[in-house]
Symmetry: C2
Subunit: 258 residues, 2 copies
DNA sequence: AAGTGGTCTAGACCACTCG
DNA sequence: GAGTGGTCTAGACCACTTG
């Protein structure tokens, strides 16, 4: 049995968030088992000394995460869904490799300003002739080449990036810290192909090896695109791990909440 | 200007959902433009004649969808994020092909009961020796072969599926309608490879063409795995379209809501 | 009928942003 | 200081499930 700590009502941390975290701890420590029913929302609220709505808010957020699920009239239950952190997200290469337990590295091929190609301009919603900052790198994991990436960013977005950014460090960190640019969503297209001679040499694989071909556009919260990436990744050392969900019901036709 | 319909307080449709749908329509019809600020929550609530919490609930749900975003002290704004329906979700092949505008079809290679391999049993959380229903199909889009899929389901979950299911129809629909099984989340691993001779013949591609190799495990709400799929898809006619998000902050370390 | 989650109210106070 | 979103309350009523 665990002694319940009281909630801190003077904290800047919202009550519902404290409750959410406490439940999460209890679930992750197996104190609450998979399939088990949570106390009724009213009981939980009474125990914690908070309002019903506040307790519901905490539960709702965990339902959205897939940790819990509620059935009207029955109760709220612990889901057996794994909540791993290694599903594909908007991550910098640096973050992704660390999450996979590898040591990231890069070799810069080129870094400069150029006029965007039609493909790049379209993806970034720029006008014809506008300039972009282009950064081409070979990405390494534990000193082995993993892929080739070519990032393009609107020049107007970060006009002095060329001076302030050391291209061997994390681009995403500089964008976030210096320019306040947080990419929170990205659209990615993955295709398969065969390595070209140039790519094969850079990746140290044999000619015509199967590779992943990525195009990725990243957006900030307002929906404005801020980065367009074309990448080629080794097929023998890279895989895509995805969590797919059934959503979007809100959008079309006559669906209603359950 | 559009005449605002009143909310229907006698409807079984929740008020917040009516509000959400109305906002969504106004956004999709460009009546509310990208970047524009929504009326203040209080104003919106007053206009609609609902409580503040109710209006907030509608706005919150649209923020979660990425349609809106709120900044404390500033306002709530229309995001330019596209809300397309063709991002990768938990979809049956049938649904996916229709969403892509193709006519789906299948050719059944085999359909029967067998003892699960170690790989299948592990994915489905079954005990050694347990039996599964296995369905192998060639998937077509507009009569052209797209991929080969091998689905395995726990026999205990749908013991009479072999009798009740016509393997040329939609597996997902039968599972949902007859057994109440709704797969709402799936974990998928995608790799690249070269087509084997057998697969190449079935897919009508040349030997050693690059292909996608998928393994996918689908789960119901409780977190119980109910389907394991191994699939090989043509690299020249298939691509993965993904929307990645930056989430999971709730899980680790000291993060807090913004 | 009792117990559950889902929706809703009419307020309150706080934190943040901007002029 | 005025306006905004974020949190919270103490109730109410409803819909659904189970015995």
């Amino acid at each position: 049995m665990k002694k319940l700590q009281h909630l801190d009502r003077n904290s800047v941390v919202p009550l519902y968030y404290q409750i959410q975290q406490r439940l999460l701890e209890q679930i992750q420590s197996r104190e609450l088992a998979v399939g088990q029913a949570l106390p009724a929302t009213q009981e939980l609220a009474a125990t914690l000394g908070v309002s019903l709505m506040t307790a519901r808010q905490a539960i709702k957020s965990l339902c959205d995460l897939g940790v819990l699920y509620s059935k009207q009239g029955k109760g709220t239950f612990i889901s057996g869904m794994k909540l791993e952190k290694d599903f594909r997200q908007v991550l910098s290469f640096t973050e992704e490799m660390k999450a996979r337990g590898s040591r990231p590295g890069s070799r810069v091929l080129s870094f400069g300003i150029r006029t965007g190609s039609r493909e790049v301009l379209e993806a970034l919603h720029l006008r014809p002739g506008e300039q972009v900052i282009e950064l081409r790198r070979v990405r390494h994991a534990n000193t082995l080449p993993m892929g080739i990436e070519c990032s393009s960013l609107p020049l107007q977005l970060c006009p002095d990036l060329l001076d302030t950014f050391d291209p061997r460090t994390s681009l995403y960190r500089v964008l976030a810290e210096r320019y306040g640019i947080d990419m929170i969503v990205a659209d990615e297209v993955a295709e398969v192909g065969l390595a070209t001679r140039v790519d094969a040499r850079l990746l140290r694989i044999s000619d015509k090896s199967p590779v992943f071909l990525f195009t990725r556009t990243s957006y900030v919260q307002s929906g404005r695109p801020v980065e367009y990436v074309r990448a080629t990744y080794r097929g023998d050392r890279y895989k895509i791990v995805n969590r797919l969900t059934r959503l979007n019901r809100a959008l079309l036709n006559s669906s209603r909440p359950m």
